[in-house]
């Protein structure tokens, strides 16, 4: 079970021993990107632009934190994009009728957590492959959100605290970035320093062995699904605050961006291998590319092409590096 011996990898990070860490390729890509873009466009390194990049990272990073856990347990959730839109609409509707941020937030978390629970139960109890189960949920949510509302749920509550959720600052740091950082740290600590995190890796690496050693593998997977759902709940509320409305069409393709970031970060779709630090790098790479394309004044449609190339290239380089290490 070499996958489980990933622990020292992070410690080697300090002191130039980066070589051999699975984040090497990604870190290099990120560095090259930053240097290249700032040579071509010096305003890349302005404070305003860095804050803008971080803000754009926040939404993806929040959901990717949960998704990393889920993919480490060898499952996947394609319904997060559809759920994101639905959550935004529901949260906004509850806010409008109750004028309470707490209740709106709770409603959003309850709904998104419920979606995660449903996905988790279908996968663990009914044994439906998670790719298919969550395509099914995605369809139900896409249809469901239009049954719930045909048009955007506008912001009628004018709660300052709600607007701050997406657009506010603490000092120079946007609120979404702080939320993303909090969620990331909690998820990071859970995965790396707790028994629960260990078990999540173990389930993904060898579910049978985990079951035979007396752990309830289904519970662990269910946990990862619900966590992913809750992350979507937070992200959905931030998104509706940013757009000042609950948009039923929001989140199209969001699931693919999130999964791309996680995969780019070196988390294996087969489970048992991966890290949140890699996911963070993955999100940064994708968003720096997005930002660079805008700053350089290139055609924005490149924002789809370049990440596609990067995902394939990064995975390929990782394979080559692994082969070299084996030799």
């Amino acid at each position: 079970m070499s996958e489980l011996t990933h622990a020292p990898a992070q410690k080697r990070f300090i002191g130039g021993q980066l070589l051999g860490s699975s984040q090497l390729v990604l870190g290099a890509i990120l560095a090259v990107l930053c240097i290249a873009i700032s040579i071509a466009a010096p305003q890349f390194y302005s404070e305003a632009n860095i804050v803008a990049i971080l803000r754009q990272c926040a939404l993806v990073l929040i959901v990717a934190s949960g998704m990393t856990m889920l993919i480490i347990t060898a499952e996947v959730d394609l319904s997060v994009g559809a759920s994101l839109a639905f959550v935004g609409c529901i949260g906004m509707a509850v806010l409008n009728s109750t004028h309470s941020l707490t209740l709106g937030m709770l409603a959003a978390l309850a709904f998104a957590g419920g979606v995660g629970l449903f996905n988790g139960l279908v996968v663990t109890r009914l044994r439906v492959n998670s790719l298919i189960a969550t395509i099914g949920t995605m369809m139900m949510l896409q249809g469901g959100v239009y049954l719930f509302t045909r048009e955007a749920v506008q912001n009628h509550n004018r709660l300052a605290s709600f607007t701050d959720l997406g657009a506010g600052y603490v000092g120079a740091v946007p609120v979404p970035v702080i939320l993303a950082a909090l969620i990331f740290v909690v998820a990071y600590v859970t995965l790396r320093f707790t028994t629960l995190g260990r078990y999540l890796y173990a389930v993904g690496a060898n579910e049978k062995a985990v079951r035979l050693s007396g752990l309830r593998s289904e519970r662990l997977k269910l946990f990862a699904f619900v966590v992913t759902g809750l992350c979507v709940g937070v992200a959905g509320m931030i998104l509706s605050s940013l757009m000042n409305a609950g948009q039923p069409t929001a989140g199209r393709g969001f699931e693919l961006t999130v999964i791309a970031a996680v995969i780019l970060g070196g988390t294996s779709l087969l489970g048992g291998r991966g890290s949140l630090f890699g996911t963070l790098l993955g999100v940064l790479v994708l968003k720096v590319i997005d930002n660079g394309i805008i700053i350089l004044g290139w055609n924005q449609d490149l924002q789809m092409v370049v990440p596609g190339i990067v995902i394939i290239l990064a995975t390929y380089l990782d394979i080559i590096r692994n082969k070299a290490n084996v030799r």
């Binding site: 189960a133 139900m140 896409q142 239009y146 490149l302 789809m304 092409v305 394939i312 995975t315």
Partner: protein, 331 residues
């Protein structure tokens, strides 16, 4: 693997016996139930006109579904087919507008499809990258490429060749849409290949147990490589039919198409794990979903409900199938 070898031994008993032993029967019963339900509740549902219309609508998913099922059976996935539909429409329409020749347009489209299949197949089979990652990547690249090239505008079919338009509304003997005829012919040809040709058996073997297949002397990489090419070419055919139907190259063509096809294929009993399933099952899966959406529309239900119900049915069907399989395995 076991499935591949037993499939050949079991080829002797009667068709009927084979059918009953397999899950296609359950799907057939489902299809009949769907047909019966809507025939009772909707007037004119069970008319030749409506049946052939639905068949025509299903031809896209049927054609692309063959490739999807074959790639699944080989133990991989291909989710780039939706973007491929939009991509190959560009050379098709542009060349036809320039040359007024259907043949050249289709040739250009197939060439593009071939290149895409070679790229996908090479990256998966020879570079060894996970197929979900590869096809997710090429899906992004192709969709972005189409947006870039077209500036997010549709390119209309100015040539308006009769032969091209016939692809969308022409009917064989004035009954069956040509698109359905194409789908059925391809289905029969590839169905024969999968069940009765050595290459088909190799695909089952590779998907069932790659290591055993390798030890048995099969060129696993080559088999997978070819499966991706087949998938891309069949999706190209579907893309040509779609372009004929909408009369233009649309940059948004085929959005979410891959999910529909994957859903229908899995509903048809083709396992994502590889080595299990048949093209007949896939076809029944496509037909069930298509008749369902047609029937629900006939009942006056909004499209949103169709999505919700389709989603539920996919989950229920796979869950049921899984429960049956577990009981059969005694666990």
């Amino acid at each position: 693997m076991s499935l591949a070898s037993t499939a050949s031994e079991r080829a002797q008993p009667s068709m009927l016996a084979r059918l009953f032993a397999r899950q296609e029967l359950a799907l057939l019963v489902c299809l009949v139930l769907v047909l019966a339900f809507f025939s009772v509740t909707i007037e004119n549902f069970f008319s030749v006109r409506n049946m052939t219309n639905v068949l025509g609508q299903a031809s896209l998913a049927l054609t692309a579904g063959i490739g999807c099922a074959i790639v699944f059976i080989s133990g991989e996935v291909d989710i780039s087919i939706g973007s491929l539909l939009a991509t190959i429409a560009l050379p098709l329409i542009i060349i036809m507008n320039d040359t007024n020749s259907l043949l050249l347009g289709v040739g250009a489209a197939l060439l593009f499809g071939l290149i895409i299949g070679v790229v996908n197949g090479y990256l998966v089979a020879y570079a060894g990258i996970n197929s979900l990652i590869v096809t997710l990547g090429t899906m992004f690249i192709m969709r972005g490429g189409v947006y870039l090239y077209t500036g997010q505008r549709a390119i209309p079919d100015d040539a308006s060749l009769d032969s091209f338009i016939a692809l969308s509304d022409g009917r064989l003997f004035n009954i069956i849409p040509y698109s359905a005829v194409i789908a059925i012919v391809l289905l029969a040809a590839f169905g024969y290949m999968m069940q009765h040709r050595p290459f088909g058996r190799q695909i089952y073997a590779v998907g069932g147990n790659q290591e055993v297949a390798r030890l048995a002397g099969y060129d696993v990489r080559r088999v997978k490589f070819i499966c991706f090419i087949i998938s891309a070419l069949l999706a190209t055919v579907a893309g040509i039919i779609l372009a004929a139907r909408v009369g233009s190259a649309q940059h948004t063509a085929g959005l979410n198409f891959e999910f529909q096809v994957v859903a229908a294929t899995v509903l048809g009993g083709v396992s994502l794990a590889g080595g299990i399933g048949s093209l007949t099952g896939m076809a029944l899966g496509v037909l069930i979903l298509q008749f369902l959406s047609n029937g629900l529309r006939g009942l006056g239900l909004p499209t949103e409900w169709q999505l919700v119900i389709t989603g539920m049915i996919i989950i229920a069907a796979v869950a049921f199938d899984e429960a049956k399989r577990r009981r059969a395995n005694g666990g």
